[in-house]
Symmetry: C2
Amino acid sequence: MAARYIEIKNSIQKDILSHRYQVGEKIPSERELAAQYGVTRVTLQKAMHVLEQEGFIERIHGKGMFVTKVIEDNVYMLNNGTGDSILGFSREFGQQAKISSRLVTHQIIPAPQTVASQLELDAQQDVHFIRRIRFIDDVPVLVEDSWINSDVIATIPQAVLEQRSLYQYIEEVTGKKIKFYNSVIEGDLFNDELAALLSISPGLPMLKVSGVTKLEDGKAFNFSCSYNRADKFKIKNSWVGK
Amino acid sequence: MAARYIEIKNSIQKDILSHRYQVGEKIPSERELAAQYGVTRVTLQKAMHVLEQEGFIERIHGKGMFVTKVIEDNVYMLNNGTGDSILGFSREFGQQAKISSRLVTHQIIPAPQTVASQLELDAQQDVHFIRRIRFIDDVPVLVEDSWINSDVIATIPQAVLEQRSLYQYIEEVTGKKIKFYNSVIEGDLFNDELAALLSISPGLPMLKVSGVTKLEDGKAFNFSCSYNRADKFKIKNSWVGK
DNA sequence: TAGTGGTCTAGACCACCTG
DNA sequence: AGGTGGTCTAGACCACTAG
């Protein structure tokens, strides 16, 4: 049972995506929507603030709330620069793109120092190391490395790694939700090794996204790093500032 | 007069930065802090949610709130990928870096189509076009292009462009606060023109950040695009997900 | 002046964690 | 059991925008 404000947020988001609320135009006022959904203004505002953060609406003091004009684009968006790129995939025109994965390697190794520090565990402690290639419409577009604390997940079925979402599996096994933290975006060039995995030329530009994933109880369980073809991806920074 | 929750957020942020609250350790509970500041829990929570968004603390249900372990780094952070890089500059170890600018060009031109669309004005309408180079410790690290609606600001003194913050000037002149929207991050390689401006080799990796800036009344007044040396910058994605 | 979003109060109940 | 964050109510007043 999700929180009421999340339900409301999803409901209004659906209304926006289905063009029930027209692009650029005003949506009903907080007081109206609060009455419609049978909640107080405070609760409704929480929903609307999330929608604003995620870039669906703009709130203008004294005027009202407006559906954000969405900019069309022919590249893919990594929605929030979170590690698990596959979760962030979205296309302005629906999800008809075919997404697939290939597992390059999966082994248990002693945690490298940088990984151990990120996962807040002792060096040399065992972690899963997983390298996967992601395809969109059968074109390889990114390499993703993950280091996962083996205390949290002892074994990972190969089927999970070949299919959709490792995170969903971890949520199921642990019974806890996940949170992303400290995501960092860098630019670089593809080296020979990564370029070979994607069948592209070394020296092409890359967007590198790394970050830590934690369980809702604060336990860090995953450090991931993805190497994305910069000609295929942009990152939308969902942020409203000042 | 800022909102109370913003004052409280700044106060606690200061306590974190001054290490009054130790890294990784628990800070007082919501109820305690609310009592200290003489506000209700709801108000205090607003402050803490902002601190969480900005990466200063982690909130863990049932346990408490903890100061985030900050990862040291020897590159600069573009805090939120907002257009005006100079505002986003921050170094983990204080602000002792020397920041300067050089104005390359400032002219009034008819708005190119993409700019007009972003600024929601008619094509061919006049805009300022400004290109500046930013230096850190006298090393050129980025080029920033800005297109500014001349309806909002008719004239811009050269001194403003050579000094610190154009945005601060605009806030003063218009008497309105500014908001950032729709910031997008891309990776690319420096071409000959941009590389020459920074005295680097073409083909080096770049982080490109573009976005629209609006006044608080919703009026779009600035489209900016910055080209950042990827060996000098990372972008911290202040986001807490799920 | 009427309508809008922005902030804030003083409670309440729930879900989660630890001892 | 006691403390923690997560959510929600039913009001209230303020600041801003419009006609």
